[in-house]
Each structure stands twice: as C-alpha cells, then as structure tokens.
C-alpha cells in the first residue's frame, strides 16, 4: 500500500506533500523508539478526565485539549468502538495513556508533540530488527516444580510472540539466562508441565514454578488419537484422573470408572458375585442388543453383553476388557469416556457403545524419582442376603411341605420308609447337628499389591520403569487372580521436531477357580447333614432320596435314586481349574513436527498373549465315582487349552493445528489398520491313578472318541478418518468428522461403511455482552452434536458361507466338509445415530458446575438372529432387523461448598435417566415371541419359572413379561391370576402373558463428597437408583419353587400359606407345583448403596523431608460396605458378594 502510494505522486501530489513530512519524521521515530520511549514519561502534564462509557477518540480529544499533544495513527486504528470509563486526576501523560490503552491492542510513542498510536499485532516484535544482547535486559533465574520445588533441567524458554526458536533452555541445575526486552512475555514450556508465562518487569532473578500437566487434565480431552482443548470441543466426554480412580476403588478399575459415570452400567451379575475371575458385563446408555433366537434362548443371564460393550483404547491402541481389568491402577494417568457421535465418530465401527480411552502415565524428567505403592486388600464375604433355615426349622418345613407323606408323584417310598427317614433326620437334629454350610467354602481374603515405579531423565531422554506384584484372592477358598507385570517406557526427543516413544509391558496373570464349586450347592445343603462321620472322616454321600425320574426318555425308569453328595468332600479330592496368560505388549510411536502447526505421527502396537487353561478332574471325584466300573482306568481327566493371540495395530496420523487472529483450526487425518488373530488348540487326556500325580504326563490315554481341538480366528479392521475442528474467538465451535471404516466381519458387499458426525458449540461465557449481563455465570457452553456410529461386535463368519471339516468323523470315502450356516453377504453394519445436546454451566467462578446431556440414540439394523423354516437347511441366520432407541438425560454436578485455608469441601452428584424402546421389529422377531411362550410351556426346558424376554414395538427391551396376579387367595392358598380379558382364574395359561413391569430405572446416579482438611482427605460416594421394576427370582426359586429336600429361604417356612384365612404373599406350603412368572414377584427396585469411602493422610512436606521422602500418603478405602434396598434378594448365586477394604501406602523418594 505504502509502495503504491509513493509511486503515484502525480495523482496525489497534495496529500503526499502533506503527509511526507510526517512520514519522514515517523521513520526517524521508529528507529529511535527504544530511546525515546523512555523519555516519554518526562512530558508529564496534569491531565484530569472523568467520563463514563466513552470511546477512545473522545478521550484522546480531551488529552489533546489539555496537553496540546496531537495524536497520529499510521495504521488503521479503530478508536471509536472501544468504550471505556476514565477517571484520571492530575495524571501525567504517560499515566493517562497507559491507563487508556491498558488491555487494548495498542501501543504509543511520543515524538515531539505528537503521540503515535500503533497496533500491537502478534509477531510485531519479530519484525523489529534483532537487537544485540546488550540492548536487552539479561534475565537470570531458575525453574522449579511448583509442588516438589525440585529444579527442572531442560525447560525451553520462548518469547510469547516468537515461538519458533527458544531464547534459551535451563541447564542441569534448572538455571537459565535469557535476554529480553522489558514488557516481553516469556513462556516456559516443558513436557508434562503446564506452560507458564512470565512478563519481563525488571532484571531481577526469577524463580519460575511450573505446575504439572496432570492437574490441568480436566481442561483437555484425550480421544485416543489426539488431545483437544476441552473448551473448544463439542463432543461429550468425561475425564477422570488416575488419582481420582484410585481414591474411588483401588481394587477394581472398571468399578471405579463406572462410578464416575452412571451411564456406564456394570450389569447386575447376580450369578458371579465377587468372583475375582469373572469379567464384568458392561452396558452403555441403555441396552441395544436384541436377543438371538436360537435354542439357548432367552434367559436374561444368557444375553451376551459384548453387543453393548464399550470399546476400550489403551494408549492409542484397541484393548480388551480383560486388559483393562488387569491394568495396574497406579499406572493410569487418565480415563476418558467418550459418549456422543462427535466424540466417537473417529472410531467409526467400534463406537456405537461409547469409547473408554485409558492413558498411562508419562515419565517426568528430573532426578530419579522412586514411587512405591503398597496395598493390602481385605475382603469379607457378605452373607447378609442369605436367610436359610437351621436344622430344626428345616425338618419342620419338610414335614409341612409333605415330604414325609406318601405321594406317588414325588416318590415311591412307603410310609414306613418315610417315617424311618424322618426319624433318622430327627435323630441328627436332636443330637445337635446344625451345620452352617454357607461359611464352609468361604474365607476372609487378604490380597496385596506392591508396585514400584522409577522415572527420570532430561528433556531429550526420559524413562519410566515399573513393576507390580498383585494378589487378589477371592472369598471362596482357593479362588484367586494374581497379576505380575513390569514395564518400561522411554521418551526420546533428539530434536525439538522429533519425538520417539516406546512402551513395553509384560504381564503375567494367573487365575484359579475355587475347588469348592458353586456356592449355590452350599446354600442348598441341609443343616442337619453332618460334614464328617463319627470318626471325623469326610463323608462322600450325605443322603439318598428316591424321586420321580425327571427324564421322560424312553426306557427310563419311573423313579430314580438321587444322591446328595458332600460338596466339601468333592472340594478335597484334588481337582483344579486354572488359567493364565502371559502378555507382551509393545507400543512404538514417532511424532515429527513438519512445521510448528503440522505434525506427522506414526504408531505401531503389538500384543502377543498366550492364554492357557488347565482343568483337572480328580479320579476320586464323584463324576467318576458313580461312573461305570469298566471305565475305572479312565477315571480322572485333564483338559488343556492354549490360545495364542496376536494383535497388531498400526496408525499414521497427520495433525494440523493453527491459530490466526481469532480463528483456530485443528485437523486430523488418520489411517489405521488392526489385526487380531487367535490360534487355539486343546485336548483332553484321561486315566489318572490318583490325585497326587496331576501332571498331564501321568494320563493313560487321550479321551475316548475325542479328537484334538483347534481353531484359528482372525479379524481385521481398517479405519480412515478425517476430523476437523474450527473455533472462532473461542466462542463458536465446529467439529466435523468423516470416517471410512472397514472390517473383515462384513460381507463382501459392505466391507466399508462411511460414518460421520458434526458438532456445533457456543461458548457464551466468552461473549462480552454475556459477561456484563450475567457476571455470576463463569461458564455457559452449549453444544449440539449429531452423527452415526457403527458396531461390529460379532463373529467374523456371519457374513460368509463357511464349511467345517468333519475331521473327527471321516466317511469311508474321505473327510467331509459341511456348511456351517447361512453366510449373509448382505449383512450390513449396525448403525447407531446419536443426537445430543449438552449444556455446561459454571457459576461463581466455577464453584458450581453443572453439565447436562440430553441424547437420542437410535440403533438401526440391529443384527438379529432370525429363525427360518428348517426346510431352507438352516435353523436361523443373522440379518439386520430391528430398531431400538434410547433416549436419556445425564446430569453431573460439582459444587465447591466450602473453601478456606485448611479446609475444602466438594460435593458431587450425578443423575441419569434412560428410556429404552423397541422402535421396529421384524415379523420374524414377532414370531419369536410366540416361540418363547412355547419354549416356556415345554417342561423339558426347565424355564417355566423364569420370565423370558419378549419384544413389542414401543416397549422397552427390559420389559418383564408374565401373567398379572391378584395375589394369594386366603381361602385356599392358590394364586389368583388375571386373564387377558380381565376375568380371574387359578389356572396359568401362557396366552395370558403380558407386560407386567419394566426393569429400566426411572433414575440412577451417584452422590458424594470429597473433603480436604489439612493433610486429611475424605471421599465417599453413594450410588442410588429408583423407579425400576425387578422380578424377584429369589422369592420364586428359594421360597416357592424351592425343592423342599434342600435348604430353602427362611420365608418358605414362615410366610407361606398354611391354613384357610392366612393372608400371605406365598402360596400353599404343600403346593409343590411350579410357580410361573406373575406380577406377584415384580417389585420396585429402589436402592442406595455406599459404593466407596476413602480416608487418606499425606504427611507434611517437612516431615517427609526429614525421613528422606518427597511424599508419603496413607489411605484406607472401603467398597460395597452398605446397601439398602426395597427388595430382598439372595445376591451371588454361584459366588457370594464380598465387602472390600483396602489399605494403601504410597511413598515417593
């Protein structure tokens, strides 16, 4: 502009002349700026202005009037838009100008009687010719860790305005010397620390304290592929630090994660209780899985959870649930739960159920730092939910239930036999036999964990070496899960542009199941059975009953004799069942900064896992004891299985990050391939002489008529994604993601599927008008996102026609191959559309924050197994049918209730509500409902007492189906049922089945608090839920349908109908018929439990130093210690629940 101006004098002669003198003058000024600026203060005059809401122009006019100085703007300076309040009394010119221009993007210089106002553009200083160091101030200082006060070597120091080349770097003592101008802003950066800006005020030595990055984690979102600023991100994510997790539940990573976000639900696994070897069943934001319509329908416990399992990412690589369960909690830096489409779209096909991103700790440079963690975990079985009868009560119940009255439907024993039997038991009862079987297989379990971590290094090379030893015995004797792991991580920055990172982890895990078997066996044992005979020898057989043969097969006799075996005898015959895996995991990554804004990253991860399982059934076991005598030399069996799993994953990422003016853009281009191969082999050997020689080498032979087992499964995926994030002035946010995802699980026709997401956001709190209008609101962020995600969590061969070789059964003319099932090559991705609206609100400087999400999740083309007419040659096949929606709201509240010098109280609360509905089901699925009723009616399936799953459009997947009941008729102890037409009946008919309840809770969540007082820290968290229905299977199985020959719930004796006029909940005590699912057992499930309490104490820094430590923390965490519920159920059927107490010590050297 200027150039053009000078070369066209003819046209603008007048104006040039006029301005030229000024230009010349100003050029001179610019050269001597440094010198003259200082002298500007000498032009001091008394200035007095007192005006409100005026613009700069007006103020300048006043100054001009009062001082005679004129103003000059060489660039386009806007002086009318800025409004300011001015209150100056007899100020010097410098004071007045400083005051007026403070906070504005303007600078001034005074030349003669002219005040030159210039823009202060970013990078303007770069345009100034480099000055020799002696023109600048020399600034000395040192950089220390804000917490530990340790000096930090290798810290880079930049000018805020010029970020390309550092001014200096701290030496190995953490000292630095840089040269800068007064008013410059220095930026101290170091990996693992928050960048710190320091203004140059004078040349006094500085002490710069850097704060560690971890504490600021809540301000970023790690989506597994990149780290984004939370404020400019529209996706919905919950981030929890490893520290927080550990405080919540140091013994169980998954439980800890779930308690921070109630939208993740750990399935109420009543079967496996607190079994250390049972993997939790997770669902995320309501169920989407429809059942498989196969032979093994329909019990809720059979439903595979994998269809709803969130995807796990560990340090940028896909991980399994088991890997996360076995992860050393001390290694976790953060966990991020990605929930909506905008957050998860980058994962494409794996994202339908949310993504849980786990990152492990990054080594910090500095002197060698050792951290030692010790944990002692105490578990005590929780038997409070079991109410069994004692010996005398049990016998009384048996008599009432008619066990000692002849009944050909039950037994062919004569009255004499029965009397004899009764008296035999009575003799036991009278002689004081009253065994408490429940406690027999249980123990208080003491687990421990020791982990050691060493880290250090400098800015070019950092390392971390860690090791762990952890034992987790369960409350059933003999069950345990032990982990040993070690790892090594290094970060190598050969230059500012290049970063290499390698992480190696080796894990050995060993799990052993209790030889005591199912806990339910002990619950069912009669208390009048002695454990040992008079000589103290363990009894094998406790009782022998003649009963009607349940088998209706041809040739079967009408009555059979049934043994009651002593489970404790079986537990001591030497059988075992254990499994182990050895895993080597190596992740290598390289980041290359092509320019300051453009980064190329590559990552490669390799996981090799060898899983083995060994199952030995002792030759002394009952399994063989009752077997044919001709097979004596085949007693005892050993089954060995090995599964070698090799997983690799490679990624290339290109990220671009640039800010200019108020614009900020962020791009990620990603391409990733992954492979998972399972190679399984196994065989069974039989014929062991005794239980001492359990080595497989002692086996006599392979199992008869069996062949070795082998399988090889590979699944692969390819993920290509382009993500863009744009922010304008940190006010307006836009996120866009496009994703092409391929998976080997899909048919040839649908190998790739595009998914996308879009998000819009508004940071209202960054708007000026908002600040003035709502000063109390410190944060007001509104985001709306929409998009699609897919799901591929099913077997790899559904979309292909696969033949299996009948290798164990050759035909006389060669081996045969038969078709497995219909390969539906039209099988398409199951797609979920997620729309979400989020409001993040912060009040009073974020003392109170509220985040609320509202989502609408529609899963279309749910993969459903369809039953076909068998004449097609298939019993069923898989197709995309059935749509399910989940609509819900989630609210997260944190409140800093009280803050003072020594005390800080935070309150947190969460609430989620999810409404589930089947939107559309295919006709075939409707036919499924019919088949369910038939299935239930067939006595051979033993499913008469369990409410089976049925589906109806508009109703929740979790609807409970059964017949409506009016309760028990006091007249005769029979149940009064309501037919579909409203009439009453005593007869159960499957045709009257209708919805009788909905298991979906109206609301669920957590509330808790953390309180810091001096060195103490207290944390507790309650979990609550209300409004859902629950079908109380315990009451059916253990009270009404209980086999009176075994021990039952105490209510079977005390609360059942016995004589006309008894108003009871339970039917006639003598009625041994089957109780079908009716609304009688549907109960409201309102419960509250204290899921964790932690108390910790940090010794003071002073004391720590004295004993040669940097820090020392002692803490105590208790989990699952209290529960109050509106329903009474027996919890933990195969394995009891346990209460958990963990003592911890963490010391840093």
């Amino acid at each position: 502009m200027k150039l053009k101006f000078l070369y066209n004098p003819a046209n603008f002669a007048g104006s040039v002349k006029c301005n030229l003198s000024v230009v010349v003058k100003l050029t001179a000024i610019l050269i001597f700026v440094g010198v003259l600026q200082l002298s500007a203060a000498t032009f001091a005059q008394g200035i007095t202005i007192s005006k409100k809401n005026v613009n700069l122009e007006t103020v300048f006019k006043d100054i001009k009037r009062q001082t005679g100085y004129t103003f000059f703007y060489p660039e386009k300076v806007n002086t009318t838009d800025q409004k300011l309040n001015v209150d100056l009394k007899n100020a010097t010119l410098k004071e007045a100008l400083d005051y007026c221009l403070k906070g504005l993007n303007l600078s001034y210089t005074i030349v003669d009687k002219t005040i030159v106002i210039r823009l202060l553009p970013a990078g303007s200083k770069a345009a100034i010719p480099a000055k020799s160091p002696d023109q600048l101030l020399e600034i000395k200082g040192k950089v220390v860790d804000a917490k530990t006060k340790e000096t930090i070597p290798g810290v880079s120091i930049y000018l805020k305005s010029i970020k390309t080349a550092p001014l200096g770097i701290t030496d190995d003592k953490g000292d630095f010397i840089v040269h800068a101008e007064l008013g410059d802003v220095l930026v101290f950066t170091f990996i693992g620390y928050k960048p710190k800006e320091v203004g140059v005020m004078d040349s006094k030595p500085l002490t710069v304290k850097l704060e560690t990055q971890v504490e600021t984690m809540n301000e970023t979102v790690i989506n597994g592929y990149q780290t984004l600023k939370k404020e400019s991100y529209t996706g919905s994510a919950i981030t929890v630090s490893g520290e927080e997790l550990k405080r919540n539940n140091p013994a169980n990573v998954i439980k800890a994660i779930a308690s921070f976000d109630p939208s993740i639900r750990i399935g109420d696994n009543n079967l496996t209780g607190s079994d250390p070897n049972a993997l939790p069943k997770l669902t995320f934001r309501g169920s989407t899985a429809l059942p498989s319509v196969d032979g093994s329908i329909v019990d809720r416990n059979n439903l595979s959870s994998t269809y709803n399992l969130p995807a796990f990412m560990l340090d940028g690589f896909p991980a399994t649930l088991e890997q996360i369960v076995d992860l050393d909690i001390d290694r976790i830096a953060s966990v991020t739960i990605l929930k909506d489409a905008a957050a998860t779209a980058v994962y494409g096909s794996r994202a339908a159920n949310g993504v849980i991103v786990v990152t492990t700790k990054v080594p910090k440079p500095g002197k060698l730092q050792l951290t030692y963690n010790a944990q002692l975990n105490i578990q005590a079985p929780d038997l409070s939910s079991y109410h069994v009868l004692n010996a005398a009560q049990k016998l009384q119940y048996e008599k009432l239930a008619g066990l000692y009255t002849t009944n050909p439907a039950v037994s062919n024993a004569s009255q004499y036999d029965l009397d004899q039997q009764y008296n035999k038991i009575l003799k036991n009862v009278v002689s004081g036999v009253n065994t408490y079987w429940l406690s027999q297989p249980l123990q208080n379990a003491f687990g421990m964990k020791h982990s050691l971590d060493a880290q250090g290094g400098d800015s070019t090379f950092r390392y971390d070496i860690n090791g762990r030893y952890q034992t987790s015995p369960g409350v059933m004797i003999g069950s345990s899960r032990n982990d040993y792991s070690g790892g090594m991580t290094f970060y190598y920055n050969p230059s500012k542009k290049l970063l290499f990172r390698n992480q190696l982890t080796i894990t050995q895990e060993e799990s052993t199941n209790s030889p005591y078997g199912n806990f339910s066996t002990y619950v069912a044992m009669n208390p009048y059975y002695p454990i040992t005979d008079a000589n103290g020898n363990s009894l094998r057989e406790l009782a022998n009953w003649t009963v009607a043969n349940p088998s209706k097969a041809s040739g079967a006799s009408e009555y059979i004799s049934e043994n009651v075996n002593n489970p404790l005898f079986e537990a001591h015959v030497g059988s075992f069942s254990k499994s182990a895996y050895f895993q080597v995991l190596d992740n290598f990554a390289m980041d290359y900064y092509i320019t300051n804004a453009l980064k190329l990253s590559t990552q490669f991860g390799l996981t090799d896992t060898k899983n083995t399982s060994d199952q030995f059934v002792s030759p002394l076991s009952n399994t063989f004891y009752y077997g044919p005598t001709s097979q004596i030399n085949n007693r005892g069996s050993y089954t060995y299985n090995v599964d070698n799993e090799l997983t690799y994953d490679g990624q290339v990422k290109l990220t671009y990050n640039k800010q200019f003016g108020g614009h900020s853009v962020n791009f990620l281009l990603l391409s990733e391939i992954g492979n998972d191969t399972n190679d399984q082999k196994g065989f069974t050997a039989v014929g062991f002489s005794n239980a001492t020689f359990t080595n497989i080498g002692f086996a006599r032979s392979y199992a008869l008529n069996s062949s070795p087992l082998g399988d090889w499964i590979t699944s692969r995926f390819n993920n290509n994604s382009l993500t863009g994030n744009y922010t304008y002035q940190n006010k307006y946010l836009l996120d866009l993601t496009g994703n092409m995802n391929g998976s080997s699980a899909f048919g040839d026709k649908h190998r790739y599927a595009p998914v996308w997401s879009a998000g819009l956001g508004w940071n209202a709190h960054n708007e000026d008008f908002f600040k003035t209008a709502f000063p109390a609101i410190s944060q007001f962020k509104l985001t709306a996102t929409t998009g699609e995600a897919g799901s591929v969590a099913f077997p790899a061969d559904l979309a292909k026609t696969i033949y299996t070789y009948q290798t164990a059964n050759w035909y006389s003319t060669g081996v045969g191959a038969t078709v497995n099932g219909y390969g539906n090559d039209n099988l398409d991705w199951q797609k979920t559309t997620i729309d979400q609206l989020t409001l993040e609100l912060g009040l009073f400087n974020n003392k109170l924050t509220i985040k609320s999400d509202y989502y609408y999740k529609l899963t279309k083309g749910e993969i459903v197994q369809l039953t076909t007419a068998p004449s097609t040659g298939y019993l069923n096949y898989d197709a995309n049918l059935g749509d399910v929606k989940n609509v819900g709201a989630e609210v997260y509240i944190t409140f800093n209730a009280y803050k003072a010098k020594d005390i800080n109280i935070n309150l947190t609360g969460t609430f989620v509500h999810n409404k589930n509905a089947v939107v559309h089901i295919n006709n075939a699925l409707k036919a499924y409902n019919e088949s369910v009723n038939k299935y239930q009616a067939d006595t051979a399936n033993h499913a008469q007492t369990i409410p089976l799953l049925q589906y109806e459009e508009g109703r929740s997947i979790n609807t409970i189906w059964g017949v409506k009941s009016k309760g028990i008729d006091p007249e005769n102890g029979k149940e009064i049922l309501v037919k579909r037409d409203g009439t009453l009946t005593y007869t159960y008919d499957a045709a009257d089945i209708q919805p009788i309840g909905n298991m979906d809770a109206k609301g669920e969540g957590t509330f808790g608090s953390n309180i810091t007082y001096k060195q103490f820290y207290l944390y507790f968290l309650f979990h609550y839920q209300f409004g859902g229905d629950y079908y109380n299977q315990t009451l059916v199985d253990r009270v009404e349908d209980a086999d009176p020959r075994y021990n039952v719930d105490a209510r079977a004796l005390t609360q059942r109908w016995q004589k006309p006029g008894d108003v009871t909940f339970y039917k006639n005590i003598q009625d041994l018929s089957i109780t079908h699912p009716t609304s009688r057992f549907v109960q409201k499930n309102n419960e509250i439990d204290l899921s964790s309490v932690t108390l910790s104490y940090d010794i003071t820094k002073k004391l720590a130093k004295k004993i040669g430590l940097q820090s020392l923390r002692l803490s105590l965490t208790a989990n699952d210690i209290f529960e109050s519920s509106s329903i009474q159920i027996e919890r933990g059927i195969y394995y009891p629940y346990a209460r958990n107490l963990t003592c911890m010590l963490q010391a840093t050297f």
Partner: protein, 490 residues
C-alpha cells in the same frame, strides 16, 4: 480408492480351521469333500446312522424310529409305549422328528451348494468327477426328499394331491413352498433321471467293479488307491439311483416303470446273494451279519458314536430295543415254514428278561466284535437291498398281470434265506402283498423300511397276531414340525 481396494484384500480374511465356500469350490478335491460332507450328515445319528434306521439318539435314548411304529419291539417304559401307540404329540417324539426334518434338509442344502457351484467349475475336474459328483448330489437330493415324503406326507395311495413337503433345489433363506405328493415324486424322478444319465458314464461300479468283503482277494471295494473311488456301495451309485426310481414308480403305482428299473438292477448282476457259509460262519470275524454283498447302497456308520448307540440299543444286558421271543416267532412265521429262516437263526439271541416274565429276543444284525477282533464288513446302515428290488419286481410283475414272474422274484428271495419250498400259487393281489409284506418285515427288521411299505400299500399295521391297526393318515403321516409352519417367510 486404491487404498480401499488394497485394504479390501487385507480385510478379506480366510479362516484356517474352516474353509470359505469359494475356496472349497475352487478344486476337484473341495467338491469331493463337500460331497463326503453330505454323506457324513446322512450317516449321522440324526438320520440314517440313528433315527431313520435303528431308531434312537445316542445317550438320551429317545425313540422315534419308524420300526417302533411298525411294532417290531416291546417296551416297558411309558414314553416308548406312547410313541408305539402312534402318539405324535409326545415331546420326545416331536424332538426326534424335528431333528430328522432339520438334518435331512441340512443335507439337502449341502447338496444344493454343490449343485449351485458345480456347473460354473466344470473345467477344474479331473476324470469323470464332474459327472460322478453332480450325479450323486442330484440322487442324494431325491433320495432325501423321497424319505421325507414317505414320513411327513400322506401316501400316494391315500391322496396324491395332498400338501406334502417343500422340494428344495435352491440355496436361500426364503422358504420353498410345499409341493403335492405327486409333485414331489415327479421332482424326485427328474433329479434321479438326471443323476442316472451322469452316473452311467462315470460310476466305477459300472466299470468292472466286483462287490465283496473289504480286504479280500478279487474285490474292488477298497482296491482303488484313491479313497474317493473306494466303497462305491457306501455312496449312492448308479444302481442305487435306478433302484430309487423303481421305489418311486412303485410308490406311484406305476408298475411298468417300476419293473423296468428293478429289472435293470437285477440284470446288472453286480450284487451276489450271500452264501450260507459267510452268513453262518462259526468265526466271529468271518461272519456276515447283514448280507453285506447284497446291499446296493448303505451308509458307512462304523464310528464310535454309532457303535456306542447300537450297543446301548441292542446289546446291553437289558437292551431298550427288544421283542419278546413270542413276538419274533410270530413275525418269522415259525408256525408255518419260517423255522428254517437263516435270518431267525442268526439275527436273534434269546435272553432272560430283567423286567417282566417273557423271554426276549435281541437283534444281532448290528453286532460288532469287541476290539481287536475284526468284522467281515464294517458297520453299515442299509440304504437299499437287493431283496427290496426283488420285492419291487415281484409286486410290479403281479400288477402287470405276470403272476409267475412275481412268484419267481419272491421265491428267489425265499430261497436265498434258507426257506426251501417255493410258493407256487397266490390267490389275489392282497395275498401277494401279504406274502411280500411278511417277508419284507423279516428282511427289514431293525432297518425302519417296513413302515414305508405298510404306508405305501395303505395297509394296516399288525399290532398283535389278532389285532391290526387300520390304515389312516393319522398313523401314517408324521406331523410337519411346528417351526416349519411358523417361520415360513413367504
């Protein structure tokens, strides 16, 4: 796009312990394996290795075999008694018939996979394999459909236009509509005619093949170095297809065609009658218990599961399947001229009962020697016997008015079963049928064939010597499985 194409290849994972359809059907070997797969299914306990021959599942001992319905045994347990009494609502029975239906159609579907792929792959075959494999697959498809028809549809004699079963020729999840009885028979004939045209030029059994006992001199059963060409009679061969045509024409009452096809098998002279020496051999290892050389086709079931099943059914101390000796003596007409019948002498052993007071006769047809003793022949389930072809020829000749011819065929069988005196006159057609039925019942004991014969002739089923259950669709037609009716999708 180039990236996606190459990635597509990457994502195309081929399983190793199993095999992709396209890969299987890319070689001659693969087609052979697929065909063997059909035989494996047929020989399974669900079909001819169990329910459709001996009449039971392994271990669970649930009966449903058609020989039970033919009143060949006597049971003491209520479930078998109900089934024996034609109670087709019994859950055990329903279970068994569902298994039969499902597995038979599974086998048919496996044939259809081969037939759908084979014509596009003609060039990959060596020798006559294309004709042989396609011919056998077609014949198997017809064979299985015909047996399903004989179980689940009314007989042609009862109602040729009744709704029968679906005749499935396509690989699809869309259900095929039901054909009528005559429609199914026509489709069977089409498939079998196509099969015979393919097999006539390719089946080794037509190329100087000598039937015999495995391992013996001069026979071709296990002579070929290629396993696939051994044991032609363990698979559907040319003569089986022809014999099946004879069966089907007779089922339709088409005596002409039935006779032509039956004669064709007989005149081939491939299947010699069993010698007395082999049948009565004193040595356990050299005794032919099943008239092995007379089997035109049989299912190879010499595997552990079927051995175990046969043992539990017939050979335990208290076998599930046994008749009283009185019952057997009655079936074998000991009062008339059946006393010399080889079959009575060699197939049954009398044991003292553990339940009840009647002596029981236990079937030894499927007896197999305890290891390490070898049998003269492997354990097989008969699929088609030479004697049946003679019965067909006899019945068809009589139907054509050739009484002497009919008696000639009948007497040939009698003679080869040790009954010396020939029958020279027969009063009428019913008498002829009675002659054939009574011999067939002896011949087919434990093979589940006699039920089909009663049904075809719409003949009553003799319950006791004095009482015969009159013929009706109620006893002859097994109900179509419920799933087949509920889950049809068109």
């Amino acid at each position: 796009m180039i990236v996606f194409t190459s990635c597509n290849k990457y994502l195309d994972v081929k399983p190793q312990s199993q095999i992709d359809e396209t890969k299987l059907f890319s070689s001659d070997e693969g087609f052979r394996e697929a065909l063997n797969g059909v035989y494996t299914l047929c020989a399974s306990t669900n079909l001819y290795g169990g329910n459709l021959t001996f009449g039971s599942f392994i271990g669970t001992a649930t009966s449903g075999g058609l020989d039970v319905l033919a009143q060949n045994y006597q049971f003491s347990d209520p479930v078998s008694q109900r089934i024996e009494g034609f109670d087709y609502t019994d859950p055990t029975f329903i279970n068994t018939e569902n298994t039969v239906w499902n597995t038979a159609y599974q086998a048919i579907n496996n044939c259809n996979y081969i037939l759908a792929a084979i014509d596009g792959k003609k060039s990959i075959f060596t020798g006559n394999d294309y004709q042989l494999i396609k011919g056998e697959a077609l014949a198997l498809r017809a064979y299985l459909h015909f047996d399903l028809l004989r179980m689940f549809a009314p007989s042609y004699a009862s109602n040729p236009n009744a709704k029968a079963i679906p005749y499935v020729t396509q690989v699809t999840v869309k259900s095929t509509s039901f054909s009528t009885v005559s429609g199914v028979l026509d489709q069977c004939i089409i498939d079998l005619n196509a099969a015979t045209r393919l097999l006539i030029n390719s089946d080794p059994i037509l190329q100087g093949y000598t039937v015999g006992y495995p391992g013996q001199q001069g026979q071709n059963e296990d002579a070929s170095p290629d396993l696939f060409y051994q044991n032609r009679r363990h698979r559907i061969n040319y003569y089986t297809a022809v014999g099946e045509l004879a069966r089907i024409y007779l089922y339709k009452g088409d005596y002409n065609n039935a006779l032509i096809n039956a004669k064709f098998v007989i005149s081939g002279k491939v299947f010699p009658w069993t010698s007395e020496a082999d049948f009565f051999s004193a040595s356990n290892t050299t005794r032919d218990r099943i008239f092995y050389k007379e089997l035109i086709s049989c299912w190879f079931v010499d595997n552990a599961p079927v051995n175990a099943e046969v043992n539990s059914l017939y050979l335990n101390t208290n076998p599930i399947f046994s008749a009283t000796t009185d019952q057997i003596n009655n079936i074998y007409e000991i009062a008339q001229d059946g006393g010399d019948d080889w079959r009575l002498k060699q197939w049954f052993v009398t044991t003292a009962p553990t339940q009840g007071s009647d002596l029981r006769a236990v079937l030894l047809k499927y007896n197999n020697n305890a290891a390490p003793l070898k049998n003269l022949h492997p354990l097989v389930a008969p699929a088609m016997r030479l004697s049946e072809i003679y019965y067909i020829a006899a019945e068809a000749s009589y139907g054509n008015g050739d009484t002497d011819g009919a008696l000639g065929y009948y007497n040939t069988v009698r003679k080869n079963r040790g009954i010396g005196d020939s029958v020279v006159t027969v009063a009428d057609k019913d008498a002829m049928n009675e002659l054939l039925l009574s011999d067939a019942r002896k011949e087919f004991y434990g093979e589940s064939q006699i039920f089909y014969m009663y049904k075809r002739l719409n003949h009553g089923i003799p319950i006791t010597p004095t009482f015969t259950r009159p013929p009706s669709d109620q006893i002859f037609v097994l109900p179509i499985p419920l799933n087949e009716l509920i889950f049809r999708n068109n």
